[in-house]
């Protein structure tokens, strides 16, 4: 809802679902889930994010040629947003951890889970552009694709990714569990 001419309230009607949705979905869905999974560390949550992103895409007028880049960035942002509101997930993981203490066999799984939690927390603390560039690059997007998606020059993608990797290492070290 926007304030329109002379202060009136103007509401945009959503567009009808685009005709190429299925075609784009079938080719881009694995990539979109993979991007979200790198952020969230969970397939089911990544699938939820992918659904959300394709719902939005379905009503958008994004040109088909730019669809993959647009979807990848939207998946990274949406997943990072989910991290911010991730208290429920943290609670769920804690519940799994508590349950696991009585089952020594899954001790490894608990370690993995804790490691994942620390990675998600570190990602959530990175500057948004760095986090998105990092996730997109590690999801297999080329420098040119990351540059186009984030409106960066290809030359600065390397710098942004490098800074993100340093920041991720520092964040993980800072919050490393004390042995």
């Amino acid at each position: 809802m926007l304030v329109g001419r002379k202060g009136g309230v103007v509401v945009s009607m959503p567009r009808a679902v685009r005709a190429d949705l299925e075609q784009v979905f079938r080719s881009a869905y694995p990539r979109v889930v993979a991007v979200a999974a790198r952020v969230l560390g969970s397939r089911s949550e990544a699938e939820d994010v992918a659904q959300e992103v394709f719902l939005t895409f379905g009503r958008s007028a994004v040109p088909a040629a730019e669809a993959l880049g647009w979807l990848s960035v939207a998946a990274a942002h949406t997943a990072l947003n989910h991290l911010r509101s991730g208290r429920r997930r943290a609670a769920r993981e804690a519940a799994v951890r508590d349950g696991a203490t009585s089952v020594p066999d899954v001790a490894d799984a608990v370690v993995t889970l804790d490691e994942r939690r620390r990675v998600r927390a570190a990602l959530a603390r990175l500057p948004r552009k760095q986090a998105v560039a990092l996730v997109l690059r590690h999801s297999g997007l080329s420098y040119a694709e990351v540059a186009a998606a984030l409106d960066l020059s290809p030359g600065s993608v390397g710098t942004t990714v490098r800074r993100a990797e340093i920041a991720l290492r520092e964040e993980l070290n800072r919050h490393a569990p004390s042995e």
Binding site: G7, V9, P14, V17, Y29, Y143, G155
Partner: protein, 355 residues
Amino acid sequence: MRHPNDGTLRRLLDEPAGVADADRAHVADCERCKAGLAAAQRDAAAASAALDTEVTVDVDAGWQRLSTAPATRVRPSRPARRWRLRSPVVAAIGVAVVLAGASAAAAGDWLEIFRTERIAPVTAPEADLIKMPELDEFGELTPIEPVEIRQVADAAAAAQATGLTVPQVTDLPKGVSGQPTYHVGARASALFTYSAERAEQTARAKGHTLPPPPPGLDGSQFRLTAGPGLAAMWSEGRPTPGLVVVRAVTPTAYSTGVPFGTARDYLLSLPILPANVAAQLKNFSAEGTTLPLFMSVEHMKSTATDVGGVPATLLTSRDRTMAAVLWLNGNVVTAVAGPLSGDEVLAVARGLGAR
């Protein structure tokens, strides 16, 4: 030669072909750059391991889920269009409020001739609504406090800027996620001076002749105010917001010494107002407390409902792609709107904290 920067070293790991030959040659012979490259490689490998999540996807199941989601059920394609609620400010600063204003005002003082106590839909075919004149076709409209909307950091800043309680959405509708952005506008006001000459020009341009205006109307002034107001918008990753919650102080109109009943009857009788709109406005113009909400009968439907026991108006688009619910609490109007179903906007409205 200058050492290549960290970004270039990083790219050398992934896309050596994207790095200039001179840089590649330099790195091969430079101990410092080789150490930098090794450090970049360690960090890249660590990040890759940290982010790696094995995922196998079922595209068919994913498509099945998406294609049966309510929002993507196939609808006939049609060009995007916009509908306008000519309120609150347009209507307030528009003909409608002036027309709906009831009491006459004494000379010399600003007297309140209109305040919003009720919102009522005025439905008409879209073609008629397009024909509705804007106020500046009847005179001079001068902004005193112009409409200025700006984004603020958070709900607390929105509350502080407007003095309004910010509604808290507890459960977002399916498909809407993330944090809202907050936008505020200070009180807006404008001065309208009726001009018989301008009105005459407007009428002539539309092929009509106006009867002579009643004495005193030419040059008489109205002051119209609305706001402050705030909006919370959920639009992450979307071309249009997925949910909007708006709260604002409702419009008020003041007049200096116009025999208002006469003026209103005159304006409502003008041939340039669509007859069906004029007839609906006449129905509640005597009260001076009803804000008309113009909507096209082809696209929108209004239903009386309630939010927390307060009477509310639910607007839904006939193609079920858009819904809004509005209600008044004192002189404050709250609206919840979005590309959602009527039930969804009602659920958000009824679940609002600080209602």
